[in-house]
């Protein structure tokens, strides 16, 4: 079976555009590229802190109000939420919990973790700002 000396096999490899072939692959690529926004937002935030370090607190706060930064932040939030939603779904897919005879489904983990996200977010705001 392995002797290909007499006839050439046709080797096929994926092109860089492989992910456009179907919807599943395309959604996967979008999911992975949310990481770009997460990383860039983090770097921009660190840059903002540096304005404070080399200037004053007002520099940092003005930076936060800069329209370009706000715009990017909004886009980053959309992609971060997409990351969160897909992450929660994956958590459900990789840890099915047996309850009696049936197993938990990924969408149930998604709902549970979204509720958890709301709780954690409120806790964060309460602990950091309202208290």
């Amino acid at each position: 079976m392995g002797d290909t000396s007499r006839y050439p096999e046709l080797r096929r490899r994926l092109s860089p555009g492989w992910w456009t072939a179907n919807r599943h692959y395309a959604m996967y690529m979008v999911r992975e590229w949310t990481s770009l926004f997460v990383a860039v937002y983090s770097l921009i935030f660190i840059y903002g802190l540096s304005l404070w370090a080399t200037g004053s607190r007002a520099n940092f706060l003005n930076f936060l109000k800069n329209p370009a930064i706000v715009g990017f932040g909004l886009v980053a939030l959309v992609f971060t939420m997409y990351h969160a939603v897909t992450w929660f779904y994956l958590l459900g897919a990789i840890s099915p919990i047996k309850i009696g005879r049936s197993k938990t489904k990924p969408w149930q983990a998604l709902v549970l973790n979204l509720i958890l996200l709301v709780i954690v977010s409120y806790l964060a705001i309460w602990l950091l700002v309202l208290r």
Partner: protein, 128 residues
Amino acid sequence: MKVETHKVARLHAILWGIFSLGGMIAAFLLPVLIYMTAIAYPFNLWPFNGTKDPSFLITGHRLGALFIFVTIAGSLFHGIFRFQSALTEVGLLKYRRALEAIGYFIIFVGIIVLAYYLATWYLNGTIS
């Protein structure tokens, strides 16, 4: 018979563990941070619709420094790790070593700088 040697990629396993932790952080903590800094504060929405500003950074809220560090460091690690991997999937597989080097360098510098600023704030009550 071909004898192959297989070596457990221990370092990568640990880095993957950190990446996973970063994913949890980016999913649970990053949304509220972005909400506070890009929506609530610039548009004077709750909880910044009164006199407060992202003051968890300066009024002695050491918890704020910790929160920022965990959220930004975790998100940075996760984002860079995953993006570098995503780049190898769109045709840049042969540059993987270079991408990894650049990625970890950015992570390293970013986290050191972040830790320095936040440690300064934690100890002095202000970053500058």
